[in-house]
């Protein structure tokens, strides 16, 4: 039983990170119908900004909650700026062309960020400074939850609530929804769509950076290519939940996280070796899409001619 609870906690922790990144994918997709392949790399950039800031600002010496909050917020801001810059210079000029073109630009940007970081910093993993003490709390039996896991849950829930508030209670959120409903009509209604798109990129990138710093607290190992696999799985999570749908992204992220952990923990009992873990996210996705072609929470839109 305690092993089960432990695995559940492990799964939810990864799932929360996936969810934070998936939110960025899903928001950008909702507005531009663009799979922003560079998003996983923004997550990496966030972690690296946090890494360098922690050293620059002198927080790397020991655990401090102040240090952690400063690093977290600063890297979110930095990543937001990077996200906006990418949109401004690589995607906006292509907006009137086929979506496939923007997609290639996204792949190009992703490769550029990865290659630049590897060339400048090397591919060797680096140890992220410990900004939070390594304390674990025993729940019962052998099941324990560490401080960094609690942090991940707390911060991601807070950020998701904040996002929900922005989207549904603020003016800019209303505009975002309008743009996502129909970009051209929104423009006709006097909405500054360029600003809204920029804002969406900033928001998504900030969430990804938060994911990056939080992961780095939990697993203090960062490298320039850390965004590839995590980004891909977060994207799978977004599609699983129904791309363009915000609660869907969270649900998808948590599901993928739990499923992966359980394949590792219990897969052998049902004949799935743990080596198939990375295939599981995709297998779940395919099965779900075959039954629900628009994902778990995605709405099927009636086609009009």
């Amino acid at each position: 039983m305690d092993t089960f609870v432990q695995q559940l906690i492990n799964g939810l922790t990864i799932g929360a990170i996936y969810a934070l990144i998936a939110l960025g994918y899903t928001m950008v997709y909702g507005i531009l119908r663009l799979i922003n392949f560079a998003h996983g790399d923004i997550y990496m950039v966030g972690a690296f900004v946090g890494y360098f800031l922690a050293f620059e600002l002198g927080f790397a010496t020991g655990p401090s909650l102040l240090g952690l909050s400063v690093v977290l917020v600063a890297s979110m801001i930095a990543a937001a700026l990077v996200g906006m810059a990418i949109e401004r210079f690589a995607y906006r000029p292509l907006r009137k062309y086929a979506r496939m073109t923007t997609l290639i630009a996204a792949i190009g940007v992703s490769l550029l960020i990865e290659n630049l970081f590897v060339a400048k910093l090397g591919a060797a993993p680096r140890a992220f400074p410990q900004l939070l003490s390594e304390k674990s709390y025993t729940l019962f039996g052998n099941a324990a939850i560490s401080k960094s896991q609690i942090l991940i849950f707390a911060v991601s829930v807070a950020l998701m609530l904040l996002l929900q508030w922005i989207i549904f209670k603020t003016k800019v959120g209303t505009a975002m929804r309008a743009v996502s409903f129909n970009l051209n009509s929104a423009k006709l209604m006097g909405i500054n769509t360029d600003f809204i798109i920029s804002f969406t990129f900033a928001l998504g990138s900030a969430l990804a950076a938060a994911g990056g710093v939080l992961t780095a607290q939990y697993n203090p190992q960062i490298d320039p290519l850390m965004g590839i696999l995590t980004g891909l799985k977060a994207f799978v999570a977004a599609v699983l939940g129904g791309i363009g749908n915000i609660p869907g992204a969270v649900l998808g992220g948590l599901l993928i996280g739990i499923a992966e952990t359980f394949v590792v923990g219990y897969g052998q009992n049902v004949g799935i070796p743990s080596t198939f873990r990375d295939a599981v996210a995709f297998a779940i996705l395919i099965l779900v899409l075959l039954v629900r072609p628009s994902g778990l929470l995605g709405s099927t839109v009636q086609e009009k001619v």
């Binding site: 432990q6 140890a127 590792v264």
Partner: protein, 436 residues
């Protein structure tokens, strides 16, 4: 439009002219002037930290040789090419190095998969290739031009199994392997076989892939099996965090690893949680022997960091090659190959290297204990047929090397399935495997 067509034609004819050449003899270059040696490795990809490390070791060795007057008065020039960690590119760049740059010999790769992709090209062109650190047995089975300066998976896996069973008296072990890495899978296989032979049981086997950051699922599963030791034959990037997360889950069993653990970054990533773990390695950076201390100090002065195992192996590969060139007195492929394959008792940083008939380095392994950012020498384990020399063992602490049983881990050549699985048609050992 006409201009477009014309320029296209011009470009293609230029390319053609560039690509076209007079076919010459074998690419051995001249017998005077610079000796051009090719290095290929992952310099920009996921495993580029390994490739760059090895490259630094190779370049340092070459510079030392050049400063000392070169080989028979000839200077060495290293040409490096990047294969991005992709087997296909490895074959392409080796083709380039052999045919365009006319290198006399090749050094590389770290990952066995990439070496296996490139080795047939070297074999077919009669250009010797020394792999610094590809440990899969299949690598040198490609042909007689391919050799290596590291020990192979069967030996290293057995070393740790022996240490676990005989010294630590472990009865049960769990394994945590990098499923995507031939290195990790090879070590796992031979650890498992030897450990079982010595009466132990493998209670659980979990896998991860390079680039993962969360291992708690696997570790929680392992914890529920409560093994005496956990064998983690991976690379330091992942291992440090695995160790840390294991301690977070309150796993007390010591972890055992291989030479992939050896890096200064291991300590940054794993910290104190590594205390009490053991690794098998070629040598110990803390070994007081003057040769090793000079190497470590020089490397540090040059690159600003302590060398890892890959840098040391790259260094030794270059030195072994230089030694062979000077013995052969020529850089012609066939003679040079024979000289390399006849390497015997070469005093390298990573131990005394002799190549056996399968062109694998036969050298003892040391078992080190990890404690407070230091590698503490435990014992030396010798391969079969090699007896412990009275004084040569790299003893750091007081343990007498002679006390270590010079017993026999699995026999290299006859080891079972990776060789079988890896290179089915290339199983015959001497003939070139490319039936073109």
């Amino acid at each position: 439009m006409k201009r477009t067509l014309l320029s296209l034609l011009l470009i293609s004819s230029l390319l053609f002219a560039f690509a076209c050449e007079r076919k010459g003899g074998p690419g051995a270059g001249g017998q005077t002037g610079e000796i051009v040696v090719g290095y290929y490795g992952d310099l920009t990809g996921r495993t580029s930290n390994f490739g760059q490390s090895t490259k630094r070791g190779v370049e340092m060795a070459a510079d030392e040789i050049n400063k000392a007057g070169g080989i028979n008065g000839r200077q060495i020039k290293i040409l490096s090419e990047d294969d991005e960690g992709r087997p296909e590119k490895a074959a392409t760049v080796v083709t380039k190095l052999i045919n365009q740059d006319r290198v006399v010999a090749l050094l590389g790769e770290v990952a066995s998969g990439n070496t296996l992709a490139a080795a047939p090209k070297a074999q077919a062109a009669n250009v010797p290739m020394i792999s610094p650190s590809s440990t899969n047995p299949a690598v040198t089975q490609v042909g007689d031009y391919i050799s290596r300066v590291c020990f192979i998976d069967p030996f290293q896996g057995a070393v740790m199994a022996q240490f676990a069973a005989n010294t630590l008296h472990a009865k049960t072990a769990a394994i945590m392997l990098d499923f995507n890495s031939p290195y990790s899978r090879g070590l796992t296989e031979f650890f498992e076989a030897s450990f079982k032979k010595l009466g132990g049981t493998i209670v659980d086997k979990q896998s991860y892939t390079q680039g993962d950051r969360d291992y708690k699922g696997q570790l929680t599963k392992i914890r529920s099996e409560n093994p005496d030791v956990i064998y983690v034959p991976g690379y330091y990037g992942e291992v440090g965090v695995i160790s840390k997360q294991a301690k977070q889950l309150d796993i007390k069993a010591p972890m055992l690893g291989g030479d992939g653990w050896d890096s200064t970054q291991l300590w940054d990533l794993g910290g104190d949680s590594l205390n009490g773990d053991f690794i098998s390695n070629h040598y110990s950076v803390d070994d007081p022997s003057p040769a090793i201390q000079k190497f470590v100090a020089d490397y540090k002065a040059r690159n600003g960091e302590v060398p890892d195992a890959l840098a040391a192996l790259g260094y030794d590969a270059m030195k072994v090659l230089a030694d062979a060139i000077s013995r052969a007195g020529t850089t012609e492929g066939p003679q040079l190959k024979d000289a390399i394959n006849a390497t015997k008792d070469f005093k390298g940083v990573t131990g005394t290297i002799s190549l056996d008939k399968d062109r694998n380095a036969v050298k003892p392994a040391v078992v080190l204990k990890l404690q407070d950012k230091k590698y503490i020498y435990q014992e030396t384990i010798y391969p079969e047929g090699m007896t412990a020399p009275a004084q040569a063992a790299p003893a750091t602490s007081g343990t007498s090397p002679a006390a270590a049983p010079a017993s026999s881990p699995a026999k290299a050549g006859t080891a079972s399935s990776p060789a079988k699985a890896a290179a089915a048609p290339a199983k015959t050992e001497k003939s070139s495997p490319s039936p073109k």
